[in-house]
């Protein structure tokens, strides 16, 4: 390459933009072949990779003597053997005009979550259809997920057009059918293309075998489609990532502008507090900027000192997002364990992470036909429309207006797994009118009057382990010492407060949530509360623990082997559960998650109840609940 060619090449690089593309198709639609073809024809396949490809084509290929481009892009060993792609894979190719990042996602129903993952960062989706089969259930599902995740541009690649004799009629029928279906979705533009990934027709160049087709080749479309969602024209939004304090004279707020424009001298507000200040500098390592736009990673310094920290959203005072602790959102569930409404999860939105729970699952959406139906929970790969409640207000925009400030992930507090992906629709305003009243007679005052410190003694263990027996003895001893106590157990709660609940996982979670809230109120009243429930899940016990102050929650693990409990079987419940008469019975047909670090661990197979109760009394003495 001559020096001047190189210079013009490098100059062109400065203007080169980036496009993120999602490919989706059913099994055998030829998706991997298409990506392999794009990589091959844009000369992104190296000689050594080609050699491996030839070797692999002979070994695993499905295209006879021809090279199997699909093998270029399949990755992990297991998948290669099965001949399918099972995860999101990212591929790169480049032309003079654009660099492309291709998210390759599988077409199987059970992998909806992978497609949503790929879609969340994509500007455009290539939806593949087999010309012989037309619009299938999977095609509709892919289109719906793309639309739900906010993709505005669709290239409908009607593949294997060579196998239907390059028929214009078939092409037109599929095009019409797809457009009819897509009317209920939120796409801005749909371009249909007749292609053959295997032979390259209309992929890089327009094919002379489809003279009736007047549109661009797929690559030409990808190079020119304008996906600039006018991000710069939207209101300014900067989620603060990191506070930069190299010394006492510099205090900067680092983050990436997700939409809009900011200039020095602009007024900006902290969304949650509403406090406003002025941008004094836009700092970057390449020198200060006068103006920065969506996509720039910058550090702002502010003229007047106001309280700003990680998790805050900087916005224009005149165009602020919603701030609320309750909102409605679409959510895709991505975990093997089902969603449990009422359970506390963590929610990460922008750079803020807050505890949150689903207060109502309004309906589930069938991703195949968009029908709504009532549901109590969400399973892996299901989409629902839910109300959320967070423990503190968060700032957000509707997802359809801003993907960055309207999207959130849901994290399981115990496994730390990412279990849900949410897209906020609108805020719920009823929360704003509930204010806490400052009461002069408070918990401390009430407890002082009783000469004790309030606490929750939380007895957890299998049915028949001895929880209630021990708790009753403890309460009698405390009463005899003149302490003020209250007992919450299945007998007085299940028949009243929680009469409407059954024994499914979701109902168990709600049962414990209510018990924990009730216990918290009694603690506020200054009482020593004894809670005796199987409470099989760690998450709920943890939530209960976090409702009160550190030191006020004492977990008592009443532990006996299942065989011992079954032998005791004081209420005959195990027999009935084994006979199949009781469903969801802990230990038999429903799991029990033992505590990791209980305040006290009582092994009741070898310890008489009286001794166990004495040990609990010792514990609450040590904890300072009683003197």
């Amino acid at each position: 390459m001559r020096a001047e060619d190189l210079r013009s090449f490098l100059a062109a690089q400065e203007r080169k933009t980036l496009l993120r593309v999602l490919t989706c198709g059913s099994v055998d639609d030829g998706k991997s072949t298409l990506i392999g073809r794009l990589l091959y024809d844009t000369k992104l396949i190296f000689d050594d990779q080609l050699k491996t490809l030839e070797k692999d084509s002979r070994k695993h290929g499905t295209t006879g003597e021809d090279m199997d481009f699909a093998l270029l892009v399949d990755g992990l060993e297991a998948e290669r053997e099965q001949g399918i792609t099972i995860d999101v894979a990212y591929r790169f190719f480049t032309t003079d005009k654009r660099k492309f990042i291709v998210a390759d996602t599988p077409g199987h129903e059970q992998y909806t979550r992978n497609m949503a993952t790929g879609a969340s960062n994509s500007d455009l989706a290539i939806i593949l259809v087999d010309a012989r089969k037309g619009v299938l259930t999977q095609t509709r599902r892919h289109a719906f997920i793309c639309s739900l995740l906010g993709i505005k541009h669709v290239a409908l690649a009607i593949n294997k057009i060579d196998l239907v004799d390059f028929s214009e009629e078939i092409f037109a029928t599929i095009d019409t059918e797809f457009r009819d279906f897509a009317k209920q979705l939120a796409f801005q533009n749909i371009v249909s293309l007749p292609i053959s990934a295997r032979y390259g027709d209309n992929v890089i160049e327009r094919s002379n075998r489809t003279p009736w087709y007047r549109g661009p080749s797929l690559l030409a479309h990808l190079e020119t489609v304008d996906v600039e969602t006018a991000l710069a024209a939207k209101p300014f939004r900067l989620p603060v990532q990191w506070v930069n304090r190299p010394n006492l004279d510099f205090r900067g707020f680092a983050g990436t502008i997700v939409s809009g424009v900011v200039q020095t001298g602009d007024r900006v507000s902290v969304a949650r507090s509403g406090r406003a200040t002025t941008v004094s500098r836009i700092v970057t390592a390449d020198g200060d900027l006068q103006k920065a736009v969506a996509g720039d990673a910058v550090t702002l310094t502010l003229a007047e000192e106001i309280d700003v920290s990680r998790g805050d959203l900087l916005v224009p005072p005149s165009d602020r997002p919603e701030v609320s602790d309750q909102f409605a959102a679409h959510m895709l569930w991505m975990a093997e364990d089902e969603l449990l409404p009422g359970r506390q999860y963590l929610l990460k939105i922008g750079t803020r992470t807050v505890p949150a729970s689903i207060t109502e699952l309004k309906h589930k959406i069938d991703v195949n036909n968009l029908e709504h139906f009532a549901a109590k929970t969400l399973h892996l790969n299901e989409v629902g429309f839910c109300n959320f409640s967070t423990t503190e207000p968060i700032a957000f925009d509707p997802y359809t207006e801003n993907r960055d400030t309207g999207a959130f992930i849901v994290i399981d507090r115990f496994t730390n797994g990412t279990v849900g992906a949410g897209m906020i629709e609108f805020g719920l305003r009823r929360a704003t009118n509930v204010h806490w009243q400052a009461l002069d007679v408070n918990k401390e005052a009430r407890a002082e009057l009783k000469g004790q410190r309030p606490a929750i003694l939380w007895f957890t263990g299998l049915s028949g382990s001895g929880k209630s027996t021990i708790a009753n003895i403890v309460e009698q001893k405390l009463h005899a010492m003149g302490r003020h106590t209250y007992m919450l157990d299945g007998d007085n709660v299940r028949h009243g407060l929680n009469r409407d609940l059954g024994f499914t996982d979701a109902d168990r979670v709600e049962n414990i949530r209510r018990v924990a809230e009730a216990a918290k109120l009694f603690v506020d009243a200054g009482l020593i509360v004894l809670v005796s429930f199987i409470s099989p899940f760690r998450s709920e016990r943890r939530t209960a623990r976090e409702l009160v102050k550190p030191g006020e929650f004492l977990e008592v693990f009443v532990d006996a082997p299942l065989e011992v409990c079954m032998e005791r079987d004081p209420k005959g419940l195990y027999k009935r559960a084994q006979a199949g008469e009781i469903k969801h019975f802990t230990g038999i047909s429903s799991p029990y998650e033992a505590p990791d670090q209980p305040e006290i661990h009582l092994e009741t197979a070898t310890m008489p109840p009286e001794d166990a109760a004495d040990r609990v009394i010792d514990l609450i003495r040590q904890a300072g609940v009683i003197l």
Binding site: M1, F46, D48, G75, E77, D226, G295, A297, I409, N416
Partner: protein, 307 residues
């Protein structure tokens, strides 16, 4: 629908990649207790370090650099490493698997697989455990190798440092789940979406210093098993029939010198390297001896804890 409006508001692809990497680094600095940046001295590490300097400017990056030294790196790499850390004023930690060194593990007698496993993979795990790091930046890119294409940007590792391809967290939007329990960690790859060409273009446009071995010069090499190996010290013995020849060579990738093949090239400047890249017909990993063992070798190494 015109391209002119697109270009007016659009940021160039390199700027976009840069911003993405900076975002990732800031998330790690904000959310982890004790992060570290793995510094392997290669061109990708040079770019990663340059991005870290930018991400936290005017502060220094709020984490140390860690080099896992197998004892077999090119001497020029070591001097470049020390000069870089000194010049930037950064805290550089160097760790060698002393136990492996005592056992006499080396690339010649132990073979490349054992040498890499013990001195690199085990050495890395030792260092991560020793300092209790909960996040480690690595310079790996998705375009390097097929199994990397599916790697997350935030790649979860168990307390035993194992990578389970079936148990990785979905990664949506820019919302990275950084939560780990005691002992668990996350490997973070801020260059995931960069390609080799992007790296070279960025080095050129930002004028980033790199080890001189990347530039063509006349150097003495031995041809062994089809690879051109530079005899960096006399621990490498010549086999019968082998001889050192001076050739015009450079390296596309740098690692342990006995395991890193040179290419014949006259590209002595960054411009010439980029020009050569554009005409290149072999992928950079071809120079790495460890990838040739078997097709899916990289994936196996990753499961064992290799970066």
């Amino acid at each position: 629908m015109t391209t002119t409006t697109a270009q007016k508001t659009a940021i160039s692809h390199l700027k976009r990649l840069e911003a993405e990497s900076i975002f990732i680094m800031r998330e790690v600095a904000a959310e982890f207790r004790n992060p570290v940046m793995l510094y392997s001295i290669g061109k990708d590490s040079s770019v990663m370090l340059h991005l870290a300097m930018k991400a936290f400017y005017p502060s220094k990056p709020p984490f140390p650099l860690l080099h896992v030294d197998t004892g077999w790196k090119f001497r020029e790499m070591i001097s470049f490493r020390d000069a870089t850390a000194k010049q930037l004023g950064l805290n550089l930690l160097v760790h060698t698997n002393e136990e492996g060194a005592r056992r006499g593990i080396n690339p010649f007698d132990s073979g490349s697989t054992v040498h890499t496993q013990v001195m690199k993979t085990e050495g890395l795990k030792q260092a991560l455990d020793k300092y209790g790091f909960d996040a480690a930046f690595g310079g790996a890119r998705r375009d390097e190798e097929k199994s990397r294409a599916k790697e997350r940007i935030f790649s979860f590792r168990s307390a035993a440092h194992a990578w389970d391809p079936k148990n990785q967290r979905p990664e949506l939007w820019r919302l990275f789940n950084t939560r780990v329990r005691q002992g668990e960690s996350i490997r973070v790859f801020p260059l995931s979406n960069w390609t080799e060409l992007d790296i070279w273009q960025y080095i050129l446009s930002e004028n980033i210093p790199i080890v001189p071995l990347y530039f063509a010069a006349r150097r003495k090499v031995v041809e062994r098993d089809g690879a051109l190996i530079m005899r960096d010290d006399d621990r490498m013995k010549l086999k019968p029939g082998e001889s050192e020849q001076e050739r015009l060579i450079r390296f596309r990738t740098l690692g342990c010198y006995p395991l890193t093949g040179a290419i014949e090239s006259g590209a002595a400047t960054l411009e010439e390297i980029v020009a050569e890249m554009l005409a290149a017909r072999t992928s950079e990993r071809q120079g790495r001896v460890i990838d040739h063992d078997e097709t899916a070798s990289m994936e196996k190494k990753k499961r064992e804890g290799y970066f």
